[in-house]
Symmetry: C2
Subunit: 397 residues, 2 copies
């Protein structure tokens, strides 16, 4: 008698995973260097050398009993302080260590944040296009995720649809900026308007509405883009961060929740995360990774390759007549497919060894996602294949 609802989930495959599995298999057949695999969002640049050096130094010099010992249940105090200081320096915030709760990546952060501020049955709104894992993060907590239709003009917020859906049973808004899959970063104007709407609705409903701000791509912002810090605009914000992309450490599982010092019960949020942790078996990110990341807190990997790739791809897509919004950050781009059925479009692309992800599971039909965290040399070769694909299948050149 294993649990039926989880058992049934086994049949619902992730489209992203399916495409990646196809790309891997195809790679074994024709050489992976010949597969233009734009499926997975796995960083392609190494962690900074300082991170590696710091890990080795900790291993060589620290007492192993202390180094590998239990982290306090709310995280190592010096690590929490280092994160708070860095955010204060960079974004003019007033965090103290007590507002920071280290987590196993952004997934862990969102899992804690949503449990802090919703009870089962409460609604959470997010905006299409959205990261499909949000369905699991939110719905398994007992809250209910509802998706606001996309503003396909620029992938900012569709405020008309949003305000219509912002009913009294909504207790949280989950935003992701810069966005996976669109690459769009919420502008200051968007965030200002979002905050105005939420402040008014909090007053009208007489209860808090929190923003859960999922920001794993915060450091991957392109030249001139306007990518402001969400929590500056709205007090009831829980920022959810991951070092997966900024330090290229996705497997080491480290991130945090940062509670805006002015949010309701700001001083209790980290403690509540600690309580939630006991029930979901989370128990802090690994001690050694906490310590090493804290020493590299203001560093990033060399992220410039993502912008180089984006520009190459964006320009070619525009030249070929694709409808596409220029990404403000991330390593994703989200063009409109050349036919209504995005799955059919992506199937045809496979013939040219171009591996794209159709947009349906992101909550918008008719688009496709490219994750361009691959070598620039491969991007360049892929554009030849793209031209051929578009010419042969859709008569464009």
């Amino acid at each position: 008698m294993i649990r039926q609802d989880y058992k049934e989930m086994l049949n619902a495959k992730s489209v992203i995973r399916e495409m990646f599995t196809y790309a891997t298999a195809k790679g074994q057949e024709i050489g992976y260097e010949n597969v233009f695999d734009y499926s997975l969002g796995n960083p392609s640049v190494p962690a900074p050398k300082e991170f590696t050096d710091c890990m080795i130094e900790l291993l060589q010099t620290e007492d192993p009993v202390k180094l590998h010992g239990y982290s306090p249940s709310l995280g190592i105090p010096s690590v929490r302080a280092a994160i708070a200081d860095s955010l204060n320096r960079r974004f003019g915030m007033n965090y103290t260590a007590e507002h920071i709760f280290p987590t196993t990546g952004a997934a862990g952060a969102v899992a804690h944040a949503v449990r802090c501020i919703t009870k089962p049955g409460d609604k959470v709104l997010t905006f299409a296009p959205f990261f499909p894992e949000y369905m699991h993060y939110i719905n398994q907590s007992g809250a209910v995720l509802k998706v606001v239709p996309a503003n396909t003009e620029n992938f900012q917020i569709n405020f008309e649809a949003f305000e219509e859906m912002l009913t009294e049973d909504v207790h949280a808004i989950l935003i992701n900026t810069p966005n996976n899959p669109s690459g769009a970063a919420c502008s200051s104007a968007t965030l200002t308007r979002l905050a105005e709407v939420l402040y008014a609705k909090q007053k009208e409903f007489g209860h808090d509405i929190f923003i859960i701000s999922d920001e794993p791509y915060r450091e991957i912002v392109f030249n001139g883009a306007d990518a402001p810090y969400v929590s500056k605009f709205y007090d009831n914000t829980l920022s959810c961060y991951s070092f997966s992309k900024s330090l290229s450490l996705p497997g080491e599982r480290i991130g945090y929740v940062a509670a805006n010092p002015k949010c309701t019960d700001a001083d209790l949020i980290a403690g509540m995360c600690g309580q939630i942790s006991r029930g979901i078996g989370h128990n802090c990110p690994p001690s050694i990774i906490q310590l090493a990341v804290a020493k590299c807190i203001d560093m990033t990997s060399d992220l410039s390759v993502y912008e180089t790739n984006m520009n190459l791809i964006y320009n070619e897509l525009v030249r070929l007549g694709f409808e596409v919004v220029k990404p403000g950050g991330t390593f994703y781009i989200f063009p409109k497919a050349l036919e209504e059925d995005a799955k059919a479009f992506c199937e045809k692309a496979k013939k040219y060894n171009l591996i794209f992800v159709p947009s349906d599971s992101f909550g918008v039909p008719g688009y496709f996602r490219m994750s361009y965290c691959i070598a620039t040399e491969k991007v360049e070769r892929s554009l030849v294949a793209l031209r051929e694909f578009v010419k042969n299948e859709y008569g464009r050149e």
Copy 2:
């Protein structure tokens, strides 16, 4: 509007933590070497040198993009295989990699296991004395933990009480052997009888009853103790393990669920754990720690100090006339207090800088727990304080 039930939990302090906090503060006053701190179960022997060497080698020789990349969502295949092979070698099992799901320690393992095999409202039985965190692990999943009263004669199972409580709404039994806090290891006779009862009840009720076997102390077993492998006795067993104690890595958060190959839907359990993971933000233990532990899979820290300490303490307690069951493993001992009120007893002990944990939160009144993962030299000095305490406060010597 942060969530009320988690908020209220903030006031319910852990007695273990309180005692540890007191010990730390006292240590700052009189020097920590003078505080006989038996509060926390934090390993006191270092991780094996091989673990440190292996970590450094991975950092120095592996491509960082691969090394720190995402683990597949069910864990790194070679790590799962190494764990399966080790269990097969040591316990004569027939696991394959597919039965193993790496987790962030035993807490993560139990959090996944309970969600696999119960739905909200199902009852889970455990046996007093029990690790107080079980209340959180089980109840926050939606299942309901019920505690079978202790068999204080030897801390094996109180079968009379157990069979009475084993009603049709019970879907899982959570056992912990060797046990925190008693140190008792379930004997073969106990496990044989437990399996007989459960097989009969499964048939009677027409549904599975799983054992969730929490085994973080499996490698800390004392000379001559009978500490058999639970899953050998009962097919519907999910073994939950942690490397925290065996390799002295509690902060690095690594363990696993191992589904008995003969359990119901054995081939689906790991996959279901993967689905559960998406909702609780778990996403695998850190990649580098998975890889390093797999290379040290059959090693342990030098655990002999725990047995040395246990013998010193046990002999002295017996000499002083305490009622105490000799531990079969772990680094805990669980004697009866010298007065009915264990809290009062532990308060008085503080005067002698002896830090014990009263037993109430373990589900048995009138006992106290000593965690003897401290230096043997300190144990020896503490026995002088113990003699003085018992003589002055209770007139025994």
